[in-house]
Symmetry: C2
Subunit: 248 residues, 2 copies
DNA sequence: TGCTGCCATTAGCTTATGTTAAAGCGGACG
DNA sequence: CGTCCGCTTTAACATAAGCTAATGGCAGCA
């Protein structure tokens, strides 16, 4: 699964992730990379890629940058429902339901690839390994959402934020975006609050607390985790749901 | 889409639901019903059909009765992550991830059909309409989970419980399990608390409040909704995510 | 150089929700 | 017929988290 010319081509994160979901042959990887290179696009930070109710007619793969899925109530309360990280898919298969039930917004500058529905279906029909990998991508997204439900429903603020940090760290690792015990966390505390169902003020208090316990350092949009095991304990984090063992 | 002999065969709920997801031809419906009749099973109330970490090697369709998906933290806190209602699927495609990340338990006596993976894949390969319908089933489950995240993260107890009741009512309607403005709600208040992320005590308080407002009657495991519009307003319920307009 | 605006932080106070415990209530069953 | 048990309900009290508002830091920009 090397990319064409230099290694670390634009599709690197996607290829790493998909290869972890289903081992890809040279041909599988080439087919995927080819489809990606046909539809390269960029977006600035804070752009809506798609909004609740919009029709869907393509599948998008994130090559670099962060996005989030979110829904907003009539009165403005917003809930971030998941982050979308490099290598992940925006709306795999979503076109089957015609329109989308949530919005997707970029948190940072983003490079992504758009594959039109017809092209995507052709690719799936021609390559069953890729089809399975995309299916896994959808199922994994669903598993992450379930864990978020548990997080919001049953964990206290401290555990909840700790859990989110563990998850992000573990999701960034397999695509090579973890550096030692640090990773980027390019979102505001308001975003983190909307992801954890807390108020900004209380989220901030909670982060202070995590700092005071020596569990994390968060500065300049970089998260550093001193002791990952300790953080996982604090979060009651149990990693099975990400199915990382399948990787490699 | 009539069932074989008498109408209202065991597969009725499933057929209604799938027909709403994708219009089924006579042959589609017959193929699905046939697969169902091959694997009929029953379970009593309070039985675990599958538990977190178990291997998955089949797909199950609920013919009658309620179940719920749930996860439990080390210290016993439990979160119900979704209800599974008649006509719905337990673990569509889940075998692709080998093991499951949550448990599924029956709330009532349940009749269901088990389709083994090989049989299921053969059915999907032979019938693309059914394959799409199953795919929609998976996507819809994911959309419901997203709405639950919003519910837990951003709605206050009163709105939250109201929302759950609206959703259940609207999910039961298309499979014919709503009678006027009433439907069954065959779960304990402890279950409802675990679904809404509240304590049992506060859930009970909240239900009293909903009663006092004349929004609901809940008695003998039956939910009656006086004024559905009023309840939806109280819940800030916006129905798009269930994609019911596709029905019929 | 001094605005302006976004983001993080802190303080003081309010309130929704949790906790513990006990009491009522009806059904199953010996 | 009485007892047990699971479920609901109520009460009294404790606390985590929300809200409003002000402050500080920093970067971009006129």
């Amino acid at each position: 699964m090397r990319s064409h010319g230099t290694d670390g081509g634009v599709a690197q994160a996607v290829l790493r992730r998909f290869n972890a979901l289903r081992p890809l042959s040279e041909e599988d990887a080439a087919a995927l990379e080819h489809a990606i290179l046909e539809g390269l696009l960029r977006a600035g930070p804070g752009e809506d890629l798609i909004a609740e109710g919009d029709p869907v007619d393509s599948v998008r793969l994130v090559l670099s940058g962060w996005l989030f899925r979110h829904k907003t109530l009539e009165d403005g309360r917003r809930q971030i429902v998941n982050f979308i990280l490099p290598g992940e898919t925006c709306d795999s298969h979503a076109y089957l339901l015609s329109s989308i039930d949530h919005s997707i917004t970029t948190a940072t500058p983003v490079a992504y690839a758009e594959i039109k529905r017809a092209r995507f279906e052709q690719l799936m029909a021609a390559n069953s390994t890729l089809a399975e990998a995309f299916m896994c991508e959808t199922l994994l997204n669903s598993a992450i959402q379930r864990e978020w439900i548990v997080n919001l429903g049953r964990r206290a603020a401290f555990e909840r934020v700790a859990h989110l940090f563990c998850e992000i760290f573990e999701r960034l690792r397999p695509v090579g975006l973890v550096d030692g015990n640090s990773c980027a966390l390019p979102v505001t505390q308001t975003d983190l609050a909307d992801a954890t169902g807390l108020s900004v003020v209380h989220l901030n208090r909670t982060i202070q607390e995590l700092r005071a316990c020596g569990l994390i350092v968060l500065k300049d949009r970089t998260l550093t985790i001193g002791d990952l095991e300790a953080l996982k304990n604090a979060a009651m984090y149990s990693p099975g749901y990400l199915r990382l063992y399948q990787a490699k």
